[in-house]
């Protein structure tokens, strides 16, 4: 085993201090070391988008970052959005509009769409399609996902008024 590096990383508001091998991917750190299984791991080479998380507020692939690189940074995963009792408006919309079937791609899509809706509170269909073009879904054909994002944008912007 190669040298261990101490890291201190904030995930969903909680500070974690761990020791990691440099080759440990951030996606595996989140799942295996922290037990946050909401972040899914699909292709592990940046194509599928399932492992998308927020890194200092920016949506990135957690499979293309090493855990050691996250030290001093702030991570948000899907677990930060809502609880089963109190879903985030985006999760509510996906529930209501059937924006998921198997659910494998959903955490990555949610974490992509959260910052997108902050920047585009009233997105067009084209803008939504482009926003999620880095996330592969093999079930829905995307139509329901787009409807869900539209519904979420309405919910979230009316909630702000």
């Amino acid at each position: 085993m190669s040298q261990l590096f101490p890291i201190k990383v904030t995930v969903n508001g909680t500070v974690y201090e761990r020791e990691v091998e440099p080759r440990l991917l951030l996606s595996d750190f989140i799942r295996h070391d922290l037990g946050l299984f909401g972040t899914h791991v699909g292709c592990e080479h940046g194509m599928c988008g399932a492992c998308t998380i927020l890194f200092d507020g920016e949506p990135v692939r957690s499979c293309l970052i090493f855990a050691v690189q996250a030290t001093g940074h702030e991570i948000r995963t899907v677990e930060s959005l809502g609880s089963p009792e109190h879903l985030h408006p985006l999760q509510e919309a996906f529930h209501e509009k059937h924006g998921l079937q198997c659910g494998f791609c959903t955490p990555g899509i949610l974490m992509t769409v959260v910052p997108f809706l902050e920047q585009h509170p009233h997105p067009s269909e084209d803008e939504i399609r482009e926003a999620i073009d880095g996330n592969i879904c093999r079930c829905t054909g995307y139509e329901k996902i787009i409807e869900s994002v539209q519904a979420a944008s309405e919910k979230m912007s009316s909630g702000k008024q």
Binding site: S2, P22, R23, T52, R61, C63, L64, I65
Partner: protein, 293 residues
């Protein structure tokens, strides 16, 4: 664990990074945005013994106007930051136009401008765009004088550049475009964010009579590295750009390209794409040059 074991170094300054690269020699590999390298390491196609991570060196991320009206871009500036920089949008609208097609927004948030050029992926957009924009690259290494290398001399083959193991690409300088310059990018890919089967960009400058003063065309995805066309200058410079001339160029550049056949498309198909995309890009650049943008 997916990648093979490696030693990890995270220098906090350029000087520290150069020291470490000099010390590691052939064992050292620069980790920039990691959007190509980490994927290759996950497959163990790449097994660098040691990584020198540039992500903790803030002095490598900047977009600064140069005295002559160009821009200097630090090599670790994220592609997303370049894409959305007002300075870039104003001076080099070609860059945001191209960046839009590079991977996906999540990849561009992390991927670096300099890293993409230094990686010299023949299917990547930025190495070719650096060439067509006549970019100059600053290469630094410990104990050697700083070197300025034009993007055309930087890339010497697929995934190959003149950047040595102990070297670091620290800055890319884009020279200003003269007035009445138009540029544009065209590509065909199988899906959004996918590698282009073929792509081209052109930068065209007009004189006061609407004749072509200078023109550069890059051909991408159709050879072992991005190809800067010579034919286009022969045909167009000093003449009035016409649709016929653009078509002629689409034909003439066929002798300059050497596309491959793979599961995504045949060589013949890629030639057809270039035949169509080059005139399209030139016509758009011509139009934009006339409008003075």
């Amino acid at each position: 664990m997916k990648p093979a074991q490696f030693d990890y170094y995270a220098p906090a300054s350029i000087e520290e990074a150069l020291d470490k690269l000099a010390e590691l020699g052939y064992d050292g590999k620069v980790l920039a945005g990691g959007q190509s390298l980490v994927a290759a390491m996950n497959f163990r196609m790449a097994r660098p013994p040691a990584l020198v991570d540039l992500n903790n060196i803030p002095e490598l991320s900047y977009i600064k106007p140069t005295a002559d009206g160009g821009l200097a871009i630090g090599s670790m500036t994220r592609v997303y930051a370049v894409e959305h920089s007002p300075e870039v949008i104003k001076r080099f609208p070609l860059l945001p136009e191209v960046a839009h097609f590079i991977g996906h927004a999540q990849i561009r948030r992390r991927g670096s401008f300099g890293g993409a050029i230094a990686h010299a992926d023949p299917s990547g957009q930025l190495p070719g765009i650096a060439k067509v924009m006549n970019a100059n690259c600053l290469i630094r290494s410990k104990g050697k004088e700083d070197r300025w290398v034009n993007a055309s001399d930087l890339i010497i083959g697929p995934f190959m550049t003149v950047i040595e193991y102990e070297d670091l690409l620290t800055e890319v300088v884009l020279p200003p475009n003269p007035p009445r310059t138009g540029s544009s990018y065209q590509q065909v890919a199988r899906q959004n964010g996918g590698y282009a089967l073929a792509a081209t960009a052109s930068v065209l400058t007009l004189d006061e009579n609407n004749h072509c003063k200078s023109v550069r065309v890059i051909l991408m995805g159709v050879g072992e590295m991005p190809i800067l066309s010579n034919k286009v200058e022969e045909i167009l410079v000093g003449h009035e750009p016409t649709e016929e001339a653009f078509k002629e160029i689409g034909e003439a550049v066929q002798s300059e390209i050497d596309p491959a056949t793979d599961l995504n498309g045949t060589a013949e198909y890629r030639r057809d794409l270039i035949r169509v995309l080059v005139p399209r890009s030139l016509a758009l650049s011509f139009d934009r040059a006339k409008k003075g943008s």
